[in-house]
Subunit: 375 residues, 2 copies
């Protein structure tokens, strides 16, 4: 058994909501934590200084995209992903499984992986547990994800069953290869669609493999919020208590509350940057669409309760002007705010859990966020 390259301490608990502390080779941060997505080794429109100023300590990069461009051998040659993208904090890389099953054109799903066509040029690429681990080892992320099969929603139960079994066989192979890079943590991914028994079976089997943490995959793929919450509810008892639990692809504030309430510690989502590029912003008083004419002469900040550089420096009228004239600075400033907002939200949530008032914070946040101020 390896000593874990990732230390996880539980600091506080309120119901099932937890505050923890994760230590990696690239810094320490508290959970619940939100990780912005740097698909192609860049969180779109943000410098790494911007990210640090927003309070980000860990981000996610995509194995699939980096394998295609510039290739992991280039990044390894340049000293690894941290150095390549000039990011001093922690990095989690996904395994490519989700992209292979969603973006690419599948050619053949085999026992040792998936043959597919690149979404860029149609060329053949093969990715399986061995390739995913080798690529992530070359990238040198702090946390690697096991290669999984993410079935679509809806799918026949038999399809989901087969995906769970394949995911488990692939996970076992990834766990075996973990020893090749002892300084890299590896998380398993729980699949099982919306079927409680499949989720629980998958989680139990993964626990036995000794991963450094477990993720819940295959959610936020079209199922209802009620279904997602039910899956979290049913899966949680089978997740290990002493290691991080990571819900993949979720970032809407209301969803974060629901998942944290059900014991989840880590999150990632493209939402803050994708919405930001279109002028969609989170605020403590609800969502704001910066393109709306109502902001035309508004001298106030995007969010008066936010201390980020966008809110300290610029008015809604100016931000609206930038979107109205297709100026890229608008995307930059809105994305920055959204990232900083989610960092602040997580900080408030951690404080509330420590104070035993998570439920109150959730109620207060929800009332204001979905209240009459929404624009």
């Amino acid at each position: 058994m390896l000593t874990s390259p990732l230390a996880f301490e539980r600091l506080a608990q309120d119901g099932r909501a937890r505050v923890g502390r994760i230590t990696t080779l690239h810094g320490t941060f508290e959970t619940p934590v939100f990780m912005p997505v740097g698909t192609q080794a860049t969180v779109k429109s943000q410098t790494t200084d911007d990210l640090q100023r927003a309070g980000v300590r860990i981000l996610l990069c995509n194995t699939y995209h980096l394998h295609l461009r510039p290739g992991e051998e280039v990044i390894e040659h340049l000293g690894g992903l941290h150095r390549f993208m000039s990011w001093p904090g922690a990095i989690l890389t996904d395994s490519g499984g989700f992209q292979v099953f969603s973006l690419a054109r599948l050619r053949e799903v085999r026992e040792d992986g998936v043959l597919f066509q690149s979404h860029l040029d149609g060329s053949d690429v093969f990715l399986g547990p061995d390739q995913a681990m080798a690529i992530q080892q070359a990238l040198g992320s702090d946390i690697a994800m096991a290669f999984d099969e993410c079935p679509p929603h809806p799918a026949a139960r038999s399809t989901v069953e087969a995906a769970v079994e394949r995911t488990l066989r692939w996970a076992a192979r990834c766990a075996e290869r973990r020893a090749e890079r002892p300084q890299q943590a590896v998380f398993g991914i729980v699949q099982g669609g919306i079927h409680p028994d499949l989720r629980q079976h998958c989680a139990r089997e993964l626990r036995a493999m000794g991963f450094d943490g477990l993720a819940i995959g295959g959610l936020s793929v079209g199922e209802t919020k009620e279904m997602m919450n039910a899956v979290l509810e049913d899966t949680e008892p089978e997740l290990p208590v002493d290691s991080p639990r990571y819900l993949m692809g979720v970032g809407a504030p209301e969803d974060l509350f629901e998942a944290i309430e059900r014991g989840v510690d880590m999150f990632d989502c493209v939402m803050p940057t994708r919405n930001g590029r279109n002028g969609g912003c989170f605020t403590w008083s609800g969502k704001v669409r910066l393109k709306a004419a109502i902001h035309r002469e508004d001298p106030g900040p995007l969010d008066p309760d936010c201390g980020c550089s966008t809110c300290r420096g610029y008015s809604r009228a100016y931000l609206r002007h930038l979107f109205n004239t297709d100026e890229m600075l608008g995307s930059q400033l809105a994305s920055h705010h959204n990232i900083a907002f989610l960092q602040s939200l997580m900080e408030k949530i951690r404080e509330a859990i420590r104070a035993g008032r998570f439920a109150e914070l959730k109620a207060e946040f929800t009332a204001r966020y979905f209240g009459p101020h929404e624009r």
Copy 2:
């Protein structure tokens, strides 16, 4: 006669090259100075913090664009252009003349101005000296430009003559209206195409009108570099010694040297940001195209002799990856470098003028910039 809202002191001279100091209500800076262009009240992809870190102390905004969107009344309502765009330094606004004659579809050139169609929606807009001054007064820039007629190149001498005479009549009207906003400096614009006698005549007449500075317009519009240098050479003796001389629309390093050698103090150009967005960068060793495959595995900075945040933080390989994957961070980082580079170049030029070695710096720069290292 008004007291000038702009103080200009001459600090050093080497040949005709000058070092000066301009004081405005929004700060003091030395000349020769390069002003980045913030067409729509944003220097594309740069926050105002970015600009300050790059050493920028004065920037240019476009009257024509801001008149169309968001409208000067919105900006005035929000406290003026500095506050609107969150820029604490000095701002020069152009008069809109150049855009009216180059971007818009002309309907009618009248004695009191120009009726044209907006390039955005085809709606009718009228701009003349009165409108240009009123708009710039509402924007509240530190330096306003007189409304001029910028003839195309090539043009018949009679066309240029008529443009000069109209420019002079319009300038007289702008000079009259200067008293309405005593804290705003106003510069006249010398037209005259490539005809020395017309240029000299125009400059002499403008001098008599008591502007705070004179600009040379209608260059960098398609004439050869030799023609441009000849015009500068011939016009300079008629330009006032004790106020700033501004060459509009010029920003290539080699052109800056030529113009400074001929007594010019101020410059603006979209080049650093426009080229930057396409991966075209200035370096002390010549131009670099970041999209080129040669940079694929290059761990070195864009310019080892540059101290900007792009060169301190990121490798050529990473920058090339950003352009190769169409990531907007590439445009941001390259634009930032180009702006910082021109600020450094101007600083070196000022130092050289002070030390009486402008000609040596020009020779050294040229040898290296156009030397065998160019990529």
